[in-house]
């Protein structure tokens, strides 16, 4: 008997199993990773670009300092991502060519028409743990380089090998302690630099601007970061914000619906529109099209309204089946709903119901303790 993924989803949904379990199995198979072959590049602003079609959206800063990537897509798309990055760097060379002519002894003739090696990938930031956002960590980290020196380079022989990977500490914890039946991530996929506080700042400008990681607790997962390019005024939102469907609440990894609402409001707090509530701060969603604060506000409104409806039903003691039968998402269904695939409306309602304290909701598993700290 051939069992399709949608069949599994239906069975699990009928059994009342947590949507998160299905999500844990199927992560990496998000529709946007399969819909169109090839990686598409969309300029965002300044040095910041968006790569689509490699799993989750990837945001990159490409410039004279090298490459900083926010998320790495799925493992299978790493080569295409690398090719896309190289293409961007070539564009940069054409747009901003090195000066022709120099010192008396330095002829530029020899270098003409010879392609310079690509500037290295120096930083990778993971917005969260899922493999459609971290699957390319191993290959893309290996393609990069960390500049170091002094005692560090002397004492740690491989300190310069590969790009640095930055993430909230819970990303590292979740990668090392996956759900039962899944293997821990290989060492080269793990964050090299983690933070456990509210925010982490890159210690210096990169490609002319500051880059800040902002932790949003218990949202899509328990390790979500917003990545704020402060000069370009671009926020990479990870899966806290999507334009493709209802928010995905990974309860098994500490996600909550209220945390997602808080995360969306946090994005709005950081954003300033250019004029008439559009433009200005641009937001790259975890999946879907380039957005601004108005798009986030529409999404925030939708998620808040659905949260309020489902919470009202939970408070009135309605069962999960009664909530589903009441169709609390009906007005948003043609835009965000799905009856098949990776994240269905039923899965969203199940996760929202449980997240809001539905009577039959199993408690969300706590995050495993972090190692070697505090």
């Amino acid at each position: 008997m051939v069992v399709s993924r949608s069949h599994v989803h239906r069975l699990l949904g009928r059994a009342g199993a947590c949507a998160a379990l299905v999500a844990a199995v199927a992560w990496g198979a998000h529709p946007s990773a399969q819909a169109q072959p090839g990686v598409r590049v969309l300029p965002v602003r300044g040095n910041v670009y968006m790569l689509l079609g490699a799993g989750g959206n990837i945001t990159v800063s490409v410039g004279r300092d090298g490459v900083l990537m926010v998320d790495t897509g799925t493992e299978g798309m790493s080569d295409q991502v690398t090719t896309a990055l190289r293409g961007l760097q070539r564009q940069l060379d054409l747009r901003d060519p090195l000066p022709i002519g120099g010192a008396e002894t330095r002829s530029t003739v020899a270098g003409r028409n010879i392609e310079a090696p690509a500037k290295p990938i120096r930083y990778i930031v993971n917005t969260h743990v899922h493999p459609d956002h971290t699957g390319g960590n191993v290959k893309l980290r290996a393609a990069g380089r960390t500049f170091t020196g002094g005692n560090v380079a002397g004492n740690i022989a491989d300190a310069g090998e590969g790009a640095a990977i930055l993430a909230h500490e819970n990303v590292q914890v979740r990668l090392l302690t996956p759900p039962a039946g899944q293997a821990p991530a290989p060492a080269d996929a793990l964050p090299t630099d983690t933070y456990y506080t509210d925010t982490m700042k890159l210690s210096h400008f990169f490609n002319g601007e500051g880059v800040q990681l902002i932790h949003v607790p218990a949202a899509h997962t328990d390790g979500d970061s917003l990545v704020y390019f402060r000069g370009s005024d671009v926020i990479a939102a990870g899966d806290i914000f999507l334009t493709t469907g209802y928010p995905i609440i990974d309860r098994q990894r500490g996600g909550t619906l209220n945390g997602i609402v808080d995360g969306l409001n946090r994005i709005l707090d950081l954003s300033i529109a250019e004029f008439r509530t559009e433009g200005g701060t641009l937001v790259v969603p975890g999946h879907g099209r380039l957005s601004d604060s108005a798009d986030v506000a529409y999404y925030r409104d939708m998620v808040t309204i659905l949260r309020d409806r489902i919470k009202n039903m939970v408070d009135r003691g309605m069962t999960l089946e009664q909530v589903k039968a009441a169709k609390p998402t009906a007005d948003y269904e043609p835009r965000y709903g799905a009856s098949t695939g990776f994240w269905t409306t039923d899965m969203f309602i199940e996760a929202a119901y449980a997240s809001l304290g539905g009577p039959k909701a199993p408690p969300a598993p706590a995050a495993p303790p972090a190692r070697g700290r505090r």
Partner: protein, 308 residues
């Protein structure tokens, strides 16, 4: 036959005149235009009444969005300066300036720019450029390209942000596309808008609107400032829970229209519907909604201690 010298001169001038007129004669829409409220004045100036969806081919999802919409949502900081989108702005009570971009070499009009009071610049490109990729940013103006169909300019607009079909909560999704036909007859500009929305419409929604040339008009600046309009806890989004909006039958009662008709839908667009209208029950008498009912339905999380 003798041809007089003056006749030859006149013919020559005519020839020059014709030669100077390109075969692709383009209507010039540039100028200052004032709205004329010959159609749907109550909707366009004072604004539509709550619960009035009559004559609009809305889907069930659109009806539910509007039924649960609370006008107080407009007071959220994110929406205070929101302009009407390209499809709705024609119906707003705003004056319009249309300017043109002319290519300095070909002297062809390569773009029109439409700009209303309280709105954004809306370029309509005529130079053959393609629309952006689907993943590009969506805006209030959308991305518009035009082509000539004789004297009529037909415009296709994509990349619209979510907007509204009416100012009473009827939504229009960001998946919608807009087709327009601009027609100029002397000093009258008539625009037909056709909205296709796979999310909130079951059939195309067609409207026409007229503007009149206004030589002494100048559209003033209209800056917009965001303020805290209502003291509410952070994160609250005004809305009615399904089934709790007390205002939905006011329009029907006030105008003596059967409630079912005010619920809209494609059926209510067509003349045949008038026959059905006669068979529908009369609306309930108008009752005053107590202020407490109006304030009650706004839901949200319990305010945190020492909120804001």
């Amino acid at each position: 036959m003798t041809i007089r010298r003056s006749t030859v001169l006149a013919l020559a001038m005519l020839l020059v005149a014709f030669a100077a007129t390109p075969s692709w004669a383009q209507t010039d829409f540039s100028g200052e235009w004032a709205p004329r409220f010959w159609e749907d004045q109550p909707e366009r100036v004072p604004g539509p009444e709550l619960g009035d969806y009559l004559g609009i081919p809305i889907s069930e999802a659109a009806r539910m969005r509007a039924d649960t919409w609370d006008a107080s949502i407009q007071t959220l900081p994110e929406w205070q300066c929101r302009p009407h989108s390209a499809d709705y702005i024609w119906r707003g009570p705003s004056n319009l300036t249309i300017s043109k971009e002319v290519d300095p070499v070909s002297r062809e009009i390569v773009a029109f720019h439409a700009e209303w009071l309280r709105s954004v610049d809306r370029p309509i490109y005529l130079d053959g450029r393609p629309h952006p990729p689907e993943d590009a940013l969506h805006t209030w103006a959308g991305f518009s390209t035009g082509k000539w169909d004789g004297d009529v300019l037909t415009i296709t607009t994509t990349h619209l942000k979510e907007g509204y079909l009416r100012r009473n909560g009827l939504p229009r999704s960001d998946k919608a596309t807009l087709t327009e036909h601009w027609m100029r007859n002397g000093e009258i500009l008539t625009v037909m808008t056709i909205i296709n929305d796979p999310v909130y419409l079951t059939e195309p929604f067609v409207r026409t609107t007229d503007y009149e040339l206004a030589l002494n008009q100048r559209v003033p600046p209209y800056p917009c400032g965001i303020v805290q309009e209502i003291d509410r806890e952070k994160g609250k989004v005004p809305h009615f829970l399904p089934g709790t909006n007390p205002y939905l039958t006011e329009h029907a009662s006030r105008h003596g229209i059967p409630v079912e008709a005010t619920r809209g839908g494609a059926e209510t667009m067509y003349p045949d519907y008038q026959e059905k209208l006669k068979t529908l029950p009369a609306p309930p008498p108008l009752t005053q909604v107590p202020p407490s009912a109006a304030a009650q339905p706004q839901s949200g999380p319990a305010p945190a201690a020492g909120r804001r």
